[in-house]
């Protein structure tokens, strides 16, 4: 293991430990909102595997987040499945969805890929509305009280408890970061980067680029789906908005702000952006104005985002 990789590993572990420790010092509200930021950070991390590392810009990643939300929430709501079972099932379903969508979407490139993913996500969103008797449509469904706590390995886990939710989010974030770290440090990381940088050349070096892209797409979609499933079980509500365009764009925004192609970038972006919106909403109703301005500013002056710029200027070993 190289020194850079070691440093990077230590940094990431330190961030995770810090996130765990924070719960002992921050305010109740910070715990609640940081929980949500972490879940959305996981979503953006999944998006980042595809966008930041492999160079494929999907404008429809909310469809996987939404797939996770519904694949976890519907069995709990309709069939009374236990939460862990529904969670695992949702991850599996997101995986299946990602494979199928990936096979279709990866037939296109660049502009077409972006528009196609946008269209497919829109179709998914409309499907949720269409099957409103099952999904609750735009009104959504509130998870039954019974599902808000469950027994797992002899422990009673109460999802209405803020600290419990926070720790589950930290755990899932840790899993995401560690899995991504291993993936990106390994040979797939090199391959993804190569594809992002120069697809034609990579193919001529003997790589099956399409398979690699599909792999990236699948990992990305599955992580996004896991985030969606976590959202459903942790916050107890599922609704069509979570599959809407807004959420696809948020994933992009978090990633761009924090730094595409860095493991912690999406989380950082999620924390900063959510905090910013939360602050601004006390002052103005048009807080999305700033979201727009930040997007434009990022593309103009900060295409690498915060951590991306730091990585370029000071910490080249950052993963």
């Amino acid at each position: 293991m190289g020194a850079g990789m070691m440093k990077s590993l230590i940094l990431h572990l330190a961030v995770l430990v810090l996130l765990f420790l924070l719960q002992f010092v921050i305010s109740d509200y910070a715990i609640l909102t940081l929980t949500r930021m972490m879940v959305l950070g996981i979503f953006a991390s999944g998006f980042n595997i595809l966008f930041g590392y492999t160079g494929l810009l999907s404008l429809g990643h909310a469809m996987f987040f939404g797939a996770g939300v519904y694949a976890a929430g519907l069995p709990i709501y309709h069939f009374g499945w236990s939460v862990p079972l529904a969670f695992v099932f949702a991850i599996f379903m997101s995986f299946v969805a990602a494979v199928i969508i990936g096979v279709i979407a990866l037939r296109t490139v660049r502009d077409s890929f972006m528009i196609l993913t946008l269209m497919l996500a829109q179709a998914g969103y409309l499907a949720i509305l269409y099957f409103n008797r099952e999904t609750g449509g735009s009104e959504g469904l509130t998870m039954p009280q019974a599902s808000r706590s469950f027994d797992f390995l002899g422990l009673t886990i109460d999802l209405t408890d803020a600290a419990t939710r926070y720790n589950i989010a930290v755990l899932l974030l840790a899993i995401t970061i560690v899995v991504s770290f291993i993936l990106i440090q390994g040979r797939y990381g090199r391959l993804f980067n190569a594809i992002r940088e120069n697809e034609a050349r990579t193919e001529m070096l003997g790589y099956n680029v399409l398979t690699a892209k599909l792999f990236s797409f699948t990992v990305s979609g599955t992580i996004a789906g896991m985030a969606g499933a976590a959202y459903a079980i942790l916050f107890g509500y599922i609704g069509a908005t979570f599959a809407g365009i807004q959420y696809s764009i948020e994933a992009l925004l978090f990633t761009l702000l924090g730094g595409a192609g860095t493991l912690l970038g999406p989380l950082l972006g999620s924390i900063l952006m959510t905090t910013l919106i939360d602050r601004l909403s006390e002052v103005t109703s048009a807080y999305f104005l700033f979201l727009g301005l930040i997007l434009i500013a990022l593309t103009l002056w900060f295409p690498k985002g915060l951590l991306g710029t730091i990585k370029e200027k000071w910490l080249p070993w950052l993963t």
């Binding site: 909102t33 449509g137 959504g140 916050f235 006390e282």
Partner: protein, 431 residues
């Protein structure tokens, strides 16, 4: 000791080691404390109002906010609640479930409000109400949703200001079948709010020996409607319509263009023309048609003192328009719920001699036991009866007919006509 940052959420025993870090983080993560945390507990009653300032609910939200401010002013001018003034904290929820929930969390844990009220659209309520329950903060919705009475939420959720949609609709059916006809075509929004109308009204009509022969769902985002109208069954006696969102004016205009002067009887929920000026030339076809209204938009001949008082306080003229701009039509038939909710909070707090969050449970129980609230300045829409089991208040409903581009009440239901068997008993749940 008073924390210098004004933040009272710290547990002093566990903030020894990471004191500096904690202070810094909390400043970043909780900017709100600086603005609102300065008052000491027991000095004010803090009420949080997540309002649909933006998003598809904005037309309602703007008036909800106006009513809330008017009511709070009156309460505070009269000495507040139990001697404490109300501190009203309003934040936009974007008519969005996630943001709506976040704002509820913020009110509960950051501002530490005594109660939250004011959310309207059912998808926002569906996401936010359970969280309020988990955070154990009283949550009073102004939304008409039946989810509460159907048992979807918790003991902390109430709807004291406005009757739920199931009751509203059920109480309309006997009158419609008796006076307009038994065969009905329904045009309704293709989402949850519309399904309530579809299901409850179909069932109620059946009970009356009538039938809903044609159902025409229209997506809520639709912007043109004419192409749906040919589906209307020409042999229907009644067209029942209800539409919400930014397209309502287009909807009624196109309905009029389509039919001209000859058409079946038309009965609509006032939602179809909430915030729309009836004097718009193309709406003349609505003349003589009927609307459900909770609170009559146009001051009636027998207008009560209470309605007069309420209009004046909110700044609404006899036509339901803003006193400063006669073209600016209010959401008159819904916004009274904010007013009545605030006064319900007041009387429950007074009954519980509420001084602060320690008496939260007493406050909840007092809300459950509000019982009958007589028509008054506090309840200008009319008498209400709070059902302690469902946490739902029931009131009278009005059927109005359009006459000279105004609506005249032709029938007022009794509260009993809208009652149904409770589907849940929240009062037995733990607090």
């Amino acid at each position: 000791m008073t924390d210098k940052t004004g933040n009272k959420t710290f547990n002093l025993t566990r903030r020894t080691a990471l004191k500096g870090l904690a202070a810094g983080t909390s400043l970043i993560l909780s900017p709100a404390v600086l603005r609102h945390g300065l008052a000491h507990a027991g000095e004010t009653i803090k009420l949080g109002a997540p309002i649909h300032r933006t998003g598809i609910g904005a037309a309602y939200g703007r008036w909800y906010e106006r009513v809330a401010n008017a009511a709070v002013k009156i309460i505070n001018d009269g000495g507040g609640i139990n001697g404490m003034p109300i501190e009203l904290i309003i934040e936009d929820d974007g008519t969005d479930p996630k943001r709506g929930t976040e704002v509820v969390e913020k009110f509960a844990t950051e501002y530490k409000v005594d109660a939250i009220f004011g959310q309207l659209f059912s998808h926002v309520v569906a996401a936010a109400a359970p969280r309020a329950g988990e955070l154990k903060v009283p949550y009073l919705m102004c939304s008409e949703t039946h989810q509460l009475a159907a048992g979807g939420f918790s003991r902390y959720a109430f709807q004291p200001g406005i009757t739920d949609v199931k009751s509203q609709i059920a109480s309309m059916a006997p009158w419609v079948s008796k006076n307009l006809g038994k065969k009905v075509t329904m045009i309704y929004p293709d989402y949850a709010f519309g399904y309530g109308h579809r299901d409850f009204f179909s069932a109620a009509m059946k009970e009356q020996g009538g039938e809903v022969s044609t159902l025409i769902p229209v997506p809520p985002t639709e912007t043109s409607f004419s192409r749906y109208f040919p589906q209307i069954d020409p042999s229907s006696d009644v067209i029942y319509h209800v539409m919400v969102g930014p397209g309502v004016l287009t909807f009624v205009k196109e309905l009029g263009e389509f039919f001209g002067s000859s058409h079946p009887a038309i009965f609509g929920f006032v939602d179809s023309i909430e915030a729309v000026d009836l004097a718009t030339p193309q709406l003349s076809f609505l003349e003589d048609s009927y609307f459900w209204e909770a609170a009559p938009r146009y001051a009636q001949a027998d207008q009560t003192e209470f309605d007069k008082f309420y209009r004046e306080a909110v700044g609404v003229d006899a036509n339901g328009a803003s006193t400063s701009d006669p073209k600016d039509i209010s959401t008159y038939s819904h916004m009274f719920s904010v007013w009545e909710t605030l006064f319900a909070i007041k009387s429950a707090m007074e009954a519980a001699d509420y001084k602060g969050v320690e008496q939260k449970e007493a406050f909840i129980e007092a809300l459950e036991n509000l019982g009958t609230m007589e028509a008054s300045n506090e309840h200008p829409q009319g008498k209400k009866v709070m059902d302690p089991k469902t946490h739902q208040a029931f009131g009278v409903q009005n059927i109005s007919q359009v006459k000279s581009s105004k609506m005249e009440v032709v029938y007022t239901t009794t509260i009993e006509e809208g009652m149904y068997e409770p589907e849940v008993d929240y009062s037995k749940m733990s607090l």
